[in-house]
Symmetry: C2
Subunit: 140 residues, 2 copies
DNA sequence: CCGCATCCTCTCGGATACTG
DNA sequence: CAGTATCCGAGAGGATGCGG
């Protein structure tokens, strides 16, 4: 157990070292790739889109709009385009009348969803604690 | 390997089922706790703040501002307050002159950073692929 | 059915100056 | 040093109507 904690801490330090060790924050990089990639992949709407596409392997535009309730046409359209450009999802249009368009995760997208799920599942199970913290904090 | 893939897929389905299975998207919850908690914890600036606090166990306001380069006083202050309210970090003020304030992760915050790191480390290692995708997409 | 174009609102966030 | 107060601009995002 003790060693587990130690391993965890060491593991954390290693990853952080790899992530931040090389950064010269006195003279910061104009475009940090991690920030850049993260800004797409950790967007609220994008996360929900990806997770629903993990739940239902194939979804059409209006189905997605129902599941990701509250999202507007414009934003859904934007996010889908960006997610496709970044390689997380694929888009197939069938030239029927009316047109049918299907979205699904790429292999890369699936890998990302798996990572994402570890985080969101953890957040879901801990959200009561966070909300409790928040209320307690509000009372002081 | 085959079974690994299967296990992975099954695992994914289970988590997604647990996350989405109960949602009546026809009549969506006004405030989804997961969305709510996520909106704080997956904020761009908050992530960077938490990661830097994982890297350096104790940091003061202006140090943080240097490491999380580009952040403004206002936003840093806001994020720190929210992160404290949600229980990720603790704030200690020493009544010296001039005043000294130290921020550090709580145990809960450390646990979250560990989860976060799995994701961001993955993103860092895959960011070249994403950027390559993006450029290829732009050329079509 | 899929999504773009338009308009319009409104919040977020940056810059600066100031205080305990 | 650690923020707060104020102002201001940009741009994200919602609603709607149209077109392929």
């Amino acid at each position: 157990m003790e060693t587990n904690v130690d391993n965890q801490t060491v593991n954390r330090s290693e990853k952080l070292e790899k992530m931040f060790g090389h950064i010269d924050y006195q003279n910061p990089p104009e475009l940090c790739p991690v920030r850049d990639v993260m800004s797409v992949a950790s967007d609220q709407w994008s996360i929900l889109i990806l997770l629903w596409l993990g739940y239902f392997p194939v979804l059409r535009f209006n189905k997605l709009k129902k599941y990701v309730y509250g999202i507007s046409n414009k934003v859904l359209s934007q996010r889908l385009k960006t997610l496709e450009a970044d390689g997380y999802i694929s888009r197939k249009a069938y030239p029927e009348v009316p047109i049918r368009v299907e979205y699904e995760l790429t292999a890369f997208g699936e890998a990302y969803v798996d990572k994402l799920l570890e985080l969101t599942a953890w957040m879901q199970s801990h959200s009561p604690k966070v909300i409790a913290n928040r209320q307690k904090y509000g009372l002081e």
